[in-house]
C-alpha cells in the first residue's frame, strides 16, 4: 500500500436497474481503491456485477434502465458519478480507458484501424490529421503489429482476432491513460496470443505506470498478472486481498470453490484424474436477491449453517490487507 491517496477510489457504490416498475440493485456496498502502477483483478461468475462495475468507472452504465444509485467513484478526488457528459468525454481515454472482450464488435467495421486510432488521438490531443496518423502507426508498432504502415490501412475484418485485440489496446492506450480497464481482454484469444497481450500489458505498465483493472474468470490469469484480487458474488465484494493469499489461503467458500473447480495444468498428470470440485447451482438473479435475507452464497455453500440464511455477513477486515464477508471464515481450516 502506498501512503499517498489512491488514484481511483470507489466508495459505497450501488448500481441499480429499473425493471418491471421496480428498481433492483445489481451492485451493492462496493468500495475499493486502486493505486498507480497496480493491477487489480476482479473475479466471479457471469452475473456477479463485474462488467457493470467496470462500465460505471467510465460513466457508461446504460441509462435508462440503469444508474449509479448510491456512492462515489473518485478519480484523483473528482467524482465521476456526478461529472457531466463533457467532462466524462475528457476523462475517457485521457484518464481511464477500457478494452472490451469482443474486439470484432467493439471496432467500427467501416473505418480503417489507423483512422480509429488517429481519431482518438485527434479528439484528445487536438493533433493535426498527419500528426494523429503518425501517432496511430507508432501505437500499432508499440502493440507489436508487424508492418504497421500497411496494417493501418486495413479494416478490422482483414485482421486476425489477436491483431484486432491489439488494435483495441492501441486505441485504449493512445492517450496514455492512468487507469486501464480490461474486461476479459483475452477470453476470445488463443493462449499463445494471450501470453503476447499480457507481456504487452506488463511492458506498458512499466512505461507509463498505468493502473490496470483486469476482469477475468481465469484464475491462472489472475495469478500471473494481478497484485491484488477482489472476488465478487451476486453484486457484492465478498473477499479481497493480495494475490498470494488469494491463491494460497482463500477464506471465502466461494473463492475456494472458484479456485478448486478449475482443472489445473500439471507437469505430472495422473492417469485417472479425480473429479473436479463442483459449486452446485447457479448465481442468483438480482430479482431473487431482493427476496433473500441471508448470505447470497448460502444456497450453494457446503459450509452454510442456519445463521447464514438469516444474516448477510458484512465485509470484515482480516489482518492489514485482507477482507472477507463470511460468517464462518474463522472456522474454515486454512
Amino acid at each position: 500500500m502506498t501512503s499517498s491517496s489512491p488514484l481511483l477510489s470507489v466508495r459505497d457504490l450501488e448500481i441499480s436497474f429499473r425493471t418491471g416498475g421496480r428498481e433492483i440493485p445489481v451492485v451493492r456496498d462496493l468500495s475499493f481503491d486502486l493505486s498507480a502502477g497496480e493491477t487489480l483483478g476482479i473475479v466471479g461468475e457471469s452475473g456477479c456485477g463485474k462488467s457493470i462495475t467496470a462500465l460505471s468507472l467510465i460513466g457508461l452504465v446504460p441509462s435508462p434502465p440503469g444508474r449509479v444509485s448510491k456512492g462515489q467513484i473518485l478519480l484523483n478526488g473528482e467524482d465521476i458519478v456526478t461529472a457531466g457528459e463533457d467532462r466524462l468525454t475528457r476523462i475517457r481515454g485521457n484518464e481511464i480507458s477500457m478494452v472490451f472482450q469482443e474486439p470484432m464488435t467493439s471496432l467500427n467495421p467501416v473505418y480503417t484501424v489507423g483512422e480509429q486510432i488517429a481519431e482518438t488521438a485527434r479528439a484528445h490531443f487536438g493533433s493535426s490529421r498527419a500528426e494523429a496518423w503518425d501517432r496511430a502507426i507508432e501505437m500499432l508498432k508499440l502493440v507489436g503489429i508487424p508492418s504497421p504502415e500497411q496494417r493501418a490501412h486495413n479494416y478490422p475484418h482483414q485482421l486476425s482476432g489477436g491483431m484486432r485485440q491489439r488494435v483495441m489496446i492501441a486505441i485504449a492506450l493512445v492517450c496514455e491513460p492512468k487507469v486501464l480497464i480490461a474486461d476479459e481482454p483475452t477470453t476470445a484469444l488463443d493462449v499463445t496470443v494471450q501470453a503476447q497481450i499480457f507481456d504487452l500489458f506488463r511492458e506498458l505498465q512499466r512505461k507509463i505506470k498505468a493502473a490496470i483493472i483486469l476482469i477475468t474468470h481465469d484464475i491462472g490469469v489472475v495469478a500471473q498478472m494481478c497484485d491484488r484480487v477482489m472476488v465478487m458474488y451476486a453484486g457484492r465484494k465478498i473477499e479481497e486481498g493480495p494475490v498470494r493469499s488469494f491463491i494460497r489461503d482463500p477464506r471465502h467458500p466461494y473463492t475456494r470453490g472458484l479456485i478448486s473447480c478449475i482443472p489445473k495444468l500439471s507437469r505430472d498428470p495422473s492417469d485417472t484424474p479425480e473429479p473436479l470440485f463442483e459449486i452446485p447451482g447457479v448465481v442468483p438473479s438480482p430479482a431473487d436477491l431482493a427476496e433473500l435475507k441471508g448470505c447470497a452464497f448460502a444456497p450453494r455453500c457446503n459450509r452454510a449453517i442456519n445463521e447464514c440464511q438469516l444474516h448477510s455477513p458484512a465485509l470484515t477486515p482480516l489482518g492489514s490487507d485482507r477482507a472477507v464477508a463470511c460468517l464462518r471464515q474463522e472456522e474454515i481450516p486454512a
Binding site: 486476425s160 499463445t192 491462472g220 495469478a223 473447480c261 478449475i262 507437469r267 505430472d268
Partner: protein, 332 residues
Amino acid sequence: MSEISALSVSDLKVHFPVGGGKVVHAVDGISFDIPAGVAFGLVGESGSGKTTAAMACARLNDATDGTIRLGGDDITHLDGDQMRQARRDIQVVFQDPYASLNPRERAGAIVRRPMDLMGIGTPKEREDRVDELFATVGLRAEQKALFPHQFSGGQRQRIGIARALATRPKLIVCDEPVSALDVAIQAQILNLLGRLKAELGLSYLFISHDLGVVQHLCDKIAVMYLGQIVEIGSRSAIFRRPMHPYTMALISAVPTLEAGMDAGMRLKGDPPSPISPPEGCRFAGRCQFAQDRCRQQSPVLSGDPDGQRVACFRARDPEVAALRDKLTSTPA
C-alpha cells in the same frame, strides 16, 4: 492392433475452394485411432483445423480425401438413410448450447428427436428413454416441458449431452463443450462427461483450446498446427515430455496458479495462411529452433506407433531438450 477402434481416421483431408482457384487446406492429411472407452483430445490454436477435422469425422462436412472408419465400418462416403443409421453410433455435442438447441422445441422433444429420426423404439419406449436421459444428465423429468430459453447455460449443455446420448452412441464428438460456460458450470459439465465415459464406456473426440481441460479429461492427445498433427501421445507423455516445440510453446503459454509451466517461450505472430501453406515444416516460421532443413523438408510423425510420435527434425536435439527440461522440471 487387433481390437477395433471406435473411430479410425486415415490420411483425412478437408479442403475448401475459396474462388480464384485457391483452396483452404483446413485439414491436410491427418491419421489417428480412438480405441473404445478412450477420450481423445485434439488441441491447437484457432485455425489449426481441429474443429473441421472433428466435423468431418461426424460427417457434418465432407472429407476431400482419406478414410473415416466408425467401429470398423467405412463411413467416409455414406449418405442418406445409411448415414442417418450410422449416426446412431456417432453423435455431437456443440460448443454453443444457445445456438445448438431449437428455441421452439421443448427440451423433451429435443432429446427425443434423434430417436424419432432414426426410428428407434416405440413412442412409449422413446418417452421412457427421455426420462432416463434427463435423470442421467442431472435434469428433472418435469423440465421436459420447458423451452431452451428457460434453462441456464449449463442446463442447456446438459440437454445437448442428453440428446447426444439418446441413440446410445459409442463415440461422441465434443466441440469445445465447456468453453462457453462459466468456470463453476464448466466443472459440473466436465464431471458429467467424465462420469458418462466411465459408466457407459463412451469414447470422445474432444476439441478444446484449453489445455487444462484437455489434460483433465483426455487419455490421448493430438496437437494440430495448420491442418496437420505435429505431435500425438498419451496424456502423461504429452505433458511430462512434450517433444514438439509447438506443443512446448502451447503449454508454456498457459497461465497457471503457482510458478507455472512457463519456460518463457513466446510464439510471435500468427500461423501462416492455410491457402498456401509454406514449404517444409509449417511451424518453421514461428519456431525458435528452425534451421534450413526445416524450411525445405516436411517432417513426418515418427516414434512409437502406439505411443508418442512427433513431426519435428529437431525434437531430440540438445537445444530443444534443454528448454524442455526447463518447462517440465519443478522449480526450486
